[in-house]
């Protein structure tokens, strides 16, 4: 489909039209730092008013992953006392993630593959099937923590229904899927003029110039570099600073490990199986009931995470385990950076 444009002033009308069909989740402004009025904190939320949508957002602590993969999710219910009759609980409703940056588009594709692989997980995939993704292209890196260009997540070729490219007073609108076509029908789009097409190309050139490779090698060599560093003391050295708090896992857009627990109603008539995010950095993660802990040292847990992000998930699914969004580094109280870690081990060879 030929490229189209949407005026910035018509965005609200489009979002209102979308909201009539689906819940709309988008980045909103949460707070402004009192010390620095330019320091804005954004978060992904379901929106009530289209005016709250902030497509000028940079980073969010949590990505839009939470709308597909909630921090807590009910899996099954059963009765207590009588016939247990366990039943699956698969909850989803139509939603649109509005303004997803390329890194998060790529991260969602990784989650899709992980939850589809071998034994499909309908609890995730049914939400995913009911979710439209409207991407928003980036003109420049969010900050120094981002290394999306290296991790191959800056130019996603799929995983979204519509991609918006910001252009002064308008958005360039590229439709990727049939669903995207249907979504755009509610927008006051116009075919792009020659000048607008040129502006789009100028944006692409600006984008290319604004992002720089930060790893000393191509990312395809990362699994090999990690393997070569397996026995290095580097993990122990970095783990000296690590508190094993799991913030990196919590904020990671591709982390999908979970714990399952049972919640019982106060009248003891019903119970529920619930899963919640878990973290491979926490000590009990690899412990078995008998007490044996297979990743006792902080360094072995930290190494496991770095290997998962740079190697294991890629080998298991064919999709990148790290999209270079920088969230784990920003969240780390000890200032541990996955990018700097990759740079260090690549440089140690």
């Amino acid at each position: 489909m030929l490229p189209q444009v949407l005026k910035r002033s018509d965005l609200g009308v489009w979002i209102t039209a979308l909201a009539a069909e689906r819940r709309v989740a988008a980045p909103v402004l949460k707070e402004t730092s009192p010390a620095d009025p330019k320091d804005l904190k954004f978060a992904w939320e379901y929106i009530a008013d289209p005016a709250d949508v902030r497509l000028d957002y940079t980073v969010t602590v949590l990505g839009p992953k939470k709308f597909l993969w909630p921090t807590r999710q009910k899996l099954a219910t059963y009765n207590l006392g009588g016939e247990p009759d366990p039943k699956p609980l698969i909850e989803h409703e139509a939603q649109v993630l509005f303004g997803v940056h390329p890194c998060d588009v790529t991260a969602i594709a990784t989650l899709d593959a992980a939850f589809y692989k071998d034994v499909p997980d309908p609890h995730y995939l049914s939400r995913r099937a009911d979710t439209a993704i409207i991407g928003l292209d980036c003109a420049k890196p969010c900050d120094d923590s981002s290394f999306c260009l290296d991790m191959g997540s800056l130019y996603p070729e799929s995983g979204y229904d519509v991609m918006l490219t910001p252009e002064e007073d308008r958005y360039f609108v590229e439709v990727k899927t049939e669903l995207g076509q249907a979504l755009v029908e509610a927008a006051k789009v116009k075919p792009a003029t020659k000048q607008e097409m040129q502006a789009r190309q100028a944006f692409a050139e600006k984008k290319r110039a604004a992002f720089h490779f930060q790893l000393p090698c191509e990312v395809k060599y990362l699994p090999e570099i990690l393997d070569a560093s397996y026995d290095s003391l580097v993990w122990e050295a970095i783990a000296r600073r690590c508190f094993s708090c799991g913030s990196c896992n919590t904020t990671c857009p591709t982390c999908y490990c979970f714990d399952v627990y049972d919640d019982v109603a106060v009248d003891l008539t019903r119970g529920c199986r619930i899963r919640r995010y878990d973290s491979c950095q926490l000590d009990p993660f690899a412990t078995v009931a008998g007490g044996e802990d297979f990743r006792k040292d902080r360094s072995s847990r930290l190494r496991h995470r770095m290997f998962r992000k740079g190697k294991y998930i890629l080998e298991q699914t064919g999709r990148t385990g790290c999209v270079g969004c920088g969230r784990c580094e920003r969240a780390c109280v000890a200032g541990i950076s996955i990018k700097e870690t990759f740079v260090q081990i690549a440089g140690s060879r």
């Binding site: 899996l75 099954a76 059963y78 207590l80 247990p84 366990p86 039943k87 699956p88 698969i90 594709a109 899709d112 593959a113 992980a114 939850f115 589809y116 692989k117 071998d118 034994v119 499909p120 997980d121 309908p122 609890h123 995939l125 049914s126 995913r128 099937a129 009911d130 999908y256 490990c257 979970f258 714990d259 399952v260 627990y261 049972d262 019982v264 003891l268 119970g271 199986r273 899963r275 878990d278 491979c280 993660f285 690899a286 412990t287 078995v288 009931a289 008998g290 007490g291 044996e292 297979f294 990743r295 496991h304 290997f307 294991y312 890629l314 080998e315 298991q316 699914t317 064919g318 999709r319």
Partner: protein, 284 residues
């Protein structure tokens, strides 16, 4: 590298892999202070499983626990579990009797390759609760005894009171076509058998390294020393089989708890050759 081709619509319509089916307890017996034996039968279609696989046992209201199947599919539609009470779910199971019901998910995991061992010698080495998963293959091999050459079973426990399947192990010894050796780390006044760690039993049996498969299951500390003995006997690495214990929480390669490096033990394991385990580095 596997490139997973994702079909979201198909996956969304899949049946939930997290919902257990009901099973009824046909028999329950306290085997030791902490280990309880169960024979169960699924309500509806029977459990189709292979030796070495495991199930998730659900106690409604409390949760699930991954348990090795200790019976062989050659025994019929019922299946058997040996549960050590170490956690909330497994302690609750102590009170479960004949007629009670539990939820079962599975079977999960790969299994012992009994076909590849056909016509050859099988050496079983089981420590403590390791006899439970090993028994699934022992029962299979004994039920198809003529398919296998020499069968040797080495079994060890800390003390006589911790020996599992004591009577059954004695019966295996009486068959005449199986060499059974049992040892305990520390004897008690009534114990007349071998005393000493399980590795000492290796010297008592004859092993033809050219035709022996060693199946080793036990606590992590035991693996290292028994694998060493098996290698010292000349058995090649790819014919030393181990079953590894990890916390298999989901059973379907998602939750991450059972991972050893890039391997999900619940799917690619729990059965590995020593050749594979060696490469994993974090295996044992």
């Amino acid at each position: 590298m596997t490139q997973v081709d994702v079909d979201i619509e198909k996956g969304a319509a899949a049946e939930s892999p997290y919902v257990p089916r009901m099973a009824q307890i046909l028999a329950a017996e306290q085997m030791t202070e902490t280990e309880r034996f169960f024979r169960l039968k699924m309500e509806g279609p029977p459990l189709v499983y292979e030796p070495g696989q495991f199930v998730e046992v659900m106690v409604f209201g409390l949760g699930e626990s991954p348990i090795s199947i200790c019976s062989s599919p050659t025994q019929g539609d019922a299946f058997e579990l040996t549960v050590r009470s170490v956690g909330i779910v497994t302690n609750a199971l102590k009170k479960f009797e004949k007629g009670h019901r539990v939820g079962i998910r599975g079977p999960f995991g790969n299994h012992f390759d009994y076909d590849v061992m056909k016509g050859q010698d099988v050496l079983f080495v089981a420590g403590g609760l390791g006899l439970a998963p090993t028994r699934s293959l022992i029962r299979y091999v004994l039920d198809k005894r003529k398919d296998y050459a020499k069968v040797t079973i080495l079994f060890g426990a800390r003390e006589p009171k911790w020996l599992l399947f004591r009577q059954e192990v004695q019966e295996w010894g009486k068959r005449g076509d199986v060499d059974v050796r049992v040892t305990v780390d520390r004897g008690d006044p009534s114990w007349k058998g071998n005393v000493g760690v399980i590795t000492r039993l290796f010297n008592k049996v004859e092993i033809d390294p050219a035709r022996t498969w060693a199946v080793i299951v036990g606590p992590p500390v035991m693996f290292k020393f028994t694998v060493l003995e098996a290698l010292a006997a000349g058995i090649p690495e790819h014919r030393i089989i181990c079953s590894l214990e990890r916390h298999m929480k989901c059973g379907i390669g998602k939750c991450g708890h059972c991972q050893i490096r890039g391997i999900y033990v619940c799917r690619q394991g729990p059965v590995f050759t020593y050749e594979q385990v060696k490469k994993l580095r974090e295996g044992i």
